[in-house]
């Protein structure tokens, strides 16, 4: 009852304040818009707004950031589905099946599924956050150290080998390319310079956002341009109908599974929504009876990715509020908002600023609900962008992608990386390799390398140490079982593609 009463009080406080309402809806719309523009993400909006939050009350400032977080994670799904441009890395797996659905004239269904599942994932994780923030936070940091996170990454990579490539071997080669790219720059432990070719900018490593934009958006432009030149281009059909309740219910297990995965990844400090989305998608493929349909426009791919990444939002607030540990860049900026108001997130927040916490909880809850309504209106309008002829749309997409690549770090080399990835992606897609696998290898590789090095230091460089930690052991075994299953399939079920996808 305490939770309900507190939630009610938070809701009344939120909606009885005209300025609060204005900030709430401003955050909802701003998060969606900035989330939808590639590269110029919700982080850009948050960074712009950060100094201004000093002039707001602590409740308004933190509430604004929380709302932007919820809707920004969803916003990036729209361009991922319509144009194969993920608005943010956590929307990349959404494009795997969302964009093929658009090409099949099912854009409305894909966006509708993204809207509904983002709202469901976010709302459920928000409710769990309200009920059990403190114990979950304590459990997460005690149970999950670097060995467990590395084991999780290993498991993720084992599953990922079946995403998007024509064969098991090409899937693994794609992932290995991603892992190789991930080691460019300073090593995460000793600071040793690797593969920088004496170019200082390469010391910062290859960032995954320009890589994603290149592999997805730019290579797609090339693919479509080639079709245009050869006369085989077919404009995508416009479909604005939402998925029916029955269609969504058919994927209820995928939703539940993705909520658990998303929540779980979100609650780990420093992991967040990107890994959540990839893991959610990978598990959808692994559990599916028809894994070969993924990457070709299977709505469950969109459902799993979007449910998981939004489920991570509420979860990421748990370590932030309970322990003062931000899970990602946006929650780290929230720490800045707290500090501007002479506050520190952490256990004392619940004692010293309980009112504020419950206003934020209520705002996040309603922000997730509002995704449904605003998302519905958005769907009915934005999908019409597909009516723009390709020759006009393509330069717009390239321009947006270029701005997005540059905006990440303000480095020209990121634009070069994006176009290189576009060209490489164009050829790799023709030869059955998986650009999704490369991106996944790049993202997970960076996390995996760091946590592996930390784990080995913690375990005193003894491999057997992994086996003394039950969660790490379980995940590593699950990874090996998955790997063994894939190898078996590759040898004994030859010529059966896993999840072929010329579009991904």
């Amino acid at each position: 009852m305490d939770v309900f009463n507190n939630f009610l009080t938070g809701t009344i406080t939120l909606f009885s304040d005209p300025l609060g309402i204005l900030i709430f809806f401003g955050g909802v719309i701003g998060g969606m818009l900035f989330g939808a523009i590639p590269g110029v993400s919700m982080l850009t909006l948050a960074a712009i707004l950060l100094p201004f939050t000093a002039h707001l009350s602590a409740e308004h400032g933190i509430m604004l950031f929380s709302v932007i977080y919820c809707t920004g994670v969803y916003g990036g799904a729209i361009t991922a589905i319509l144009f194969n441009i993920p608005g943010a890395p956590e929307n990349a797996p959404t494009a795997f099946d969302g964009y093929p659905m658009t090409q099949k004239g099912q854009a409305g269904k894909a966006v509708g599924a993204a809207v509904m599942c983002s709202a469901i994932g976010g709302t459920v994780s928000c409710i769990i956050m309200m009920i059990a923030t403190a114990p979950i936070a304590d459990w997460a940091i005690s149970a999950f150290g670097p060995p467990e996170i590395f084991a999780l990454v290993f498991f993720g990579l084992a599953v990922a080998s079946s995403v998007g490539a024509k064969t098991f071997w090409k899937g693994w080669l794609s992932i290995l390319i991603g892992l190789m790219v991930a080691v460019v720059g300073l090593d995460p432990v000793g600071g040793i310079e690797r593969y920088d070719f004496e170019m200082p900018y390469l010391l910062a490593g290859i960032h995954f956002i320009p890589t994603i934009l290149g592999f997805f958006a730019v290579s797609e432009i090339f693919v479509q341009a080639e079709k245009k030149v050869t006369g085989s281009y077919v404009a995508p059909k416009i479909g604005v109908e939402f998925p029916t309740l029955k269609e969504l219910l058919a994927h209820k297990f995928a939703v539940i599974r993705s909520i658990i995965i998303g929540f779980f990844c979100g609650v780990l400090p420093g992991i967040g929504a990107t890994l959540a989305a990839f893991m959610g998608y990978n598990e959808a493929v692994r559990w599916s009876k028809k894994p070969e349909t993924f990457g070709k426009g299977n709505i469950e791919g969109v459902i799993s990715s979007e449910t998981a990444n939004n489920a991570a939002t509420g979860a990421a607030m748990i370590p932030l509020l309970a322990l003062g540990l931000p899970g990602g860049a946006l929650t780290a900026m929230m720490v800045g908002v707290f500090q501007m108001h002479d506050m520190e997130p952490g256990p004392l927040v619940f004692i010293n600023s309980a009112d504020l916490v419950w206003v934020v909880f209520a705002a996040m809850f309603f922000a997730n609900i509002s995704i449904i309504f605003v998302g519905y209106l958005e769907t009915k309008t934005i999908i019409n962008l597909l009516r723009i002829p390709f020759q006009f749309l393509a330069p717009m997409i390239l321009l947006l992608a270029t701005v997005g690549a540059y905006a990440v770090r303000g480095l020209t080399i990121d634009i070069v990386v994006m176009f290189l990835a576009g060209v490489i992606g164009f050829f790799l897609r023709r030869s059955g390799y998986s650009v999704a696998g490369i991106v996944l290898g790049l993202i997970l590789g960076k996390i995996g390398e760091q946590t592996f090095a930390q784990a080995m230091q913690m375990l005193h460089f003894e491999w057997s140490g992994f086996f003394d930690r039950p969660i790490a052991l379980g995940l590593i075994l699950a990874g090996f079982v998955t790997l063994a299953g894939s190898i078996y399939g590759a040898f004994f079920k030859t010529n059966k593609p896993t999840a072929t996808d010329p579009a991904v």
């Binding site: 200082p200 322990l323 540990l325 256990p347 004392l348």
Partner: protein, 342 residues
């Protein structure tokens, strides 16, 4: 022996400066500067750009924001922060050095720039290749344990326990080769003879989570970064890496108290401009940044980060002295560690 003498000499100078500044702290360091200064030939006619070689959420991002706000409040000139993270500050430094020296671009940087130059003289020397406008944060480090820890409760019992583990005890750190953290830890382990495995976490949240969750036994950090954990009763310091106890940590032993005879390295953050920027513009920037240091908003920020326990302010010459001393100190340490100093 020469190494120890050199180290002692440079550190005595640094410590004397820090402590004497501490005594004079009652009034803010730049109260004596004029409250306004005419813009030279209308400069700045547009917003300044501040290159920050780290992300917006960390210590550098926060101090950059606080200083930019203070300068804007003081002068009415906007400052756009341009974050260029990566390569331990190398990317931001490279980008800044390539920008026009017209006084419209300034840069925030930390002691990593000094240690990078100490290791490789080909890297820019912040004292000579740039003009320091102000050093606005200088802080010390501490060793922390969980408050509910029962295997050890203070420095003495910690050293005893760690020694008994024979190298299996762990401490969360930013243990990049040659970093301030690693060098300070080398001093500690050399002096105590204990072996402890340093676990490298480059981001704060996982580092603090590792101690809070019991993944590691201790944490090496600066007090401002873990203040919330101390205030919440989660972490407690068991050693202050200073020769004397600061008042805020009167019950925590200093290096002298536990008979550790070495001179610790400090974390410092400051703001710079191109050495070739027009002299009148540099003068105006020096006034703006040094005066902004004493703006109430900036002082409040520094206090919240425990940055007033030892004097954080250095003007241009003071910053150069600090950098030069630090570079010399790092060079000696690197040589003693067997690192190749170029």
């Amino acid at each position: 022996m020469n190494f120890r003498k050199t180290m002692a000499a440079s550190a005595i100078t640094l410590a004397t400066t820090l402590l004497s500044a501490n005594v004079a702290y009652a009034a803010c360091a730049t109260d004596g500067l004029p409250s306004s200064m005419a813009k030279p030939d209308g400069y700045p006619a547009r917003a300044l750009t501040m290159v920050v070689p780290y992300g917006p959420a960390g210590g550098s991002g926060q101090v950059a924001q606080a200083m930019a706000q203070a300068v804007s409040d003081l002068t009415g000139v906007s400052i756009n922060r341009d974050h260029k993270p990566g390569g331990s500050g190398t990317v931001g430094m490279t980008a800044y050095m390539a920008s026009p020296a017209d006084g419209y671009a300034v840069m925030e940087h930390i002691d990593d720039a000094s240690s990078a130059h100490a290791l490789d003289s080909g890297r820019p020397n912040p004292a000579t290749d740039l003009i320091p406008l102000v050093t606005s944060q200088i802080t010390f480090s501490q060793i922390y344990i969980r408050t509910d820890e029962d295997r050890f409760t203070d420095w003495e019992s910690f050293v005893k326990w760690v020694t008994a583990q024979n190298g299996r005890a762990t401490i969360a750190n930013v243990s990049k080769e040659g970093s301030m953290e690693r060098v300070n830890m080398k001093f500690i382990t050399d002096a105590t003879g204990m072996q402890i495995q340093q676990i490298s976490f480059d981001k704060g949240a996982p580092r603090y989570g590792a101690l809070a969750g019991g993944q590691v036994d201790a944490l090496f950090e600066q007090p401002g970064d873990v203040r919330k954990f101390m205030d919440a009763g989660k972490f407690k310091p068991i050693l202050t890496l200073l020769k004397e106890r600061p008042a805020a940590f009167a019950d925590v032993p200093s290096l002298t108290d536990v008979a550790l005879d070495f001179d610790p390295l400090y974390r410092f953050r400051g703001f710079y401009v191109h050495k070739d920027a027009p002299a009148d513009r540099v003068k105006w920037l020096q006034w703006a940044f040094q005066k902004a240091y004493c703006q109430p908003s900036y002082q409040k920020y520094n206090e919240s980060k425990y940055m007033t326990l030892i004097e954080s302010f250095r003007d241009t010459q003071g910053s150069r002295d600090l950098i030069n001393q630090t570079v010399a100190q790092y060079r000696e340490v690197y040589k003693s560690m067997g690192l190749e100093v170029k």
